[in-house]
Amino acid sequence: MTGGTTARTLSSVRVRRLIIEQSKRAHVGHIGSALSVADILVALFSGTVDPEVDVFILSKGHAALAQYCVLAELGLITHEMLDTYCGDDTQLGVHPDHTLAGITFSTGSLGHGPSLGAGVALAKRIAGRPGRVFVLMSDAELNEGSVWEAVMFAGHHRLDNLTVILDNNGQQALAPTAEVINLAGVDQLVQTLGWESRRVDGHNVDALTIAFEARAPGRPLFMIADTVAGKGVSFMERQVKWHYLPVDDAQFALALSEIG
């Protein structure tokens, strides 16, 4: 993924096209979430994450399709494997499986990633090993109590090798987050609990790449990436229903033409 092993340069457009193609082929939803994190993953896996020493955890497991597409583009899995997405006897289910190359932890139940990441980060510190831990989570995951157990723990223990990226698209399964549990002020909250809170445009790969370089000595990094669910496909953007729906033929064609 870095240092000459990169199979090819990651492109947000390519990843988005693959997301639409695979969800159409498999007739599976969660497209909105996958499009929401596409640019974040492209930024992370274009050199930020060093697979030799770093660990990436997709805490919002339901966006795994986006990660599979990145893995295929990087050559870590083949495109033939990608074509098994959501088929029978596949390693590529809706949620990621650690038996697949490039996946560290199986996720899918929300709110586990920050704790897993804090555990990895603490173990690295104990062992004196280098490397950063990146956890990508959804904003709705902040509803889970265990997230706050992890936030308090990582802040207290000054795990500055841990970065949590919040996919802040303002939507959850049934409604906008503001209508379910209002999360305004979360940046100040984590700051109070010992984290460094930053904000970035979650669809600007260059801005994300620069933002990920930030380190705050003694403070874990909480990167609020402002995103749009369904980003890149106008009729999917900010539409709660695209958390679940698959695309039909007409929507498929329109989506691809918009992505370019």
Binding site: H112, A118, G119, V120, A127, R129, S146, A150, H156, H157
Partner: protein, 306 residues
């Protein structure tokens, strides 16, 4: 058993720097020696069992062997899904250390009585479950098996115990059998003391029993159980746990699965929800889990052949 656990773990940690001890803010007057010996490998994670389970999975993924300490109820249940999706799903060497199985926390009341913990752990694939009968078994089980690759649940009694008949024997997936007779008493954990006392008293009456200590619940001591029960007229299991899902169920499954003809009596906690609380001795007595209760159960099967 708690103190033996800590003492043995300190010794193991002296030789193996992969060992770390996490506690969810419990272990006053118990864990301090470990914290003093290995301050860099002791973490009070706060009152946050769910976080503790996932932290441990993350740490185990990085090559450490984390022990997660709390009262058995909280240790086994509060972070159950984190344990399932973390250590179990990834088959990582996380060790849950549940203190005070059964009624050990007596008057603390039902929130502190671990009566389903073994059942919960038995249904998870690939989890080793160890419920030692005394300090000697704690020491042996830890020394011989702490580094196994799969997750483990250790169910420990609070108080110290020693049964010379066991002489510290513990074998993974085996029973430790003491004596012989037409009737088998299969005991778990601190019920072993009750079973051995009943065996002594019945011996004085001319009734011979075999006491089998099931400290290795998973992997189940299936072969030993089949060998033991093939020649017995009756088997009585005794556990400070609900009869469903624990030792009694394990023995029933073995008997049914192997077509054994032995009669089975399962002694366990049958209190309805909402009963009054009290001391461990009182609660055991009320559920027939004391010497008198077990004596009565054995006499019933001894006097009324199947």
């Amino acid at each position: 058993m708690r103190k033996q656990f800590v003492s043995t773990l300190i010794d193991i940690a002296n030789h193996d720097d992969r060992v770390v001890l996490l506690t969810a803010d419990l272990g006053f007057m118990v864990l301090e020696p470990f914290a003093e010996h290995h301050p860099d490998r002791f973490f009070n994670v706060g009152v946050a069992e769910a976080n503790m389970m996932s932290l441990a999975a993350g740490m185990a993924h990085e090559g450490l062997i984390p022990f997660c300490y709390s009262i058995a109820t909280f240790a086994s249940m509060r972070g159950y899904e984190q344990f399932r999706n973390g250590a179990v799903l990834h088959q990582l060497p996380v060790r849950i250390v549940g203190i005070g199985g059964g009624f050990a926390y007596g008057t603390a009341g039902p929130t502190h009585h671990a009566l389903e913990d073994i059942a919960l752990m038995r249904v998870q694939p690939g989890v080793g479950i160890v419920a030692p009968a005394d300090d000697g078994q704690v020491d042996r089980a830890l020394r011989d098996h702490y580094a196994r690759p799969q997750p483990m649940y250790l169910r420990l009694a609070k108080e110290t115990a020693s049964h010379p008949e066991l002489a510290g024997r513990f074998h993974w997936g085996r029973l430790e059998v003491i004596g012989d007779g037409d009737i088998a008493i299969v005991a778990i954990g601190s019920m072993t003391g009750v079973a051995l006392e009943v065996r002594r008293r019945l011996q004085a009456e001319g009734i011979q029993t075999a006491v089998a200590v099931a400290a290795s619940i998973a992997p189940a001591p299936t072969d030993d159980l089949v060998a033991l029960l093939a020649s017995k007229s009756a088997c009585i299991t005794i556990e400070d746990h609900r009869p469903i899902g624990g030792l009694g169920s394990l023995v029933a499954e073995t008997i049914a699965g192997h077509g054994l003809g032995v009669r089975l009596i399962r002694s366990g906690v049958t209190d309805p929800v909402g009963e009054t609380t009290g001391s461990e001795a009182f609660l055991r007595r009320r559920n027939g889990l004391d010497v008198d209760g077990l004596m009565a159960a054995v006499r019933r099967v001894a006097l009324v052949p199947a």
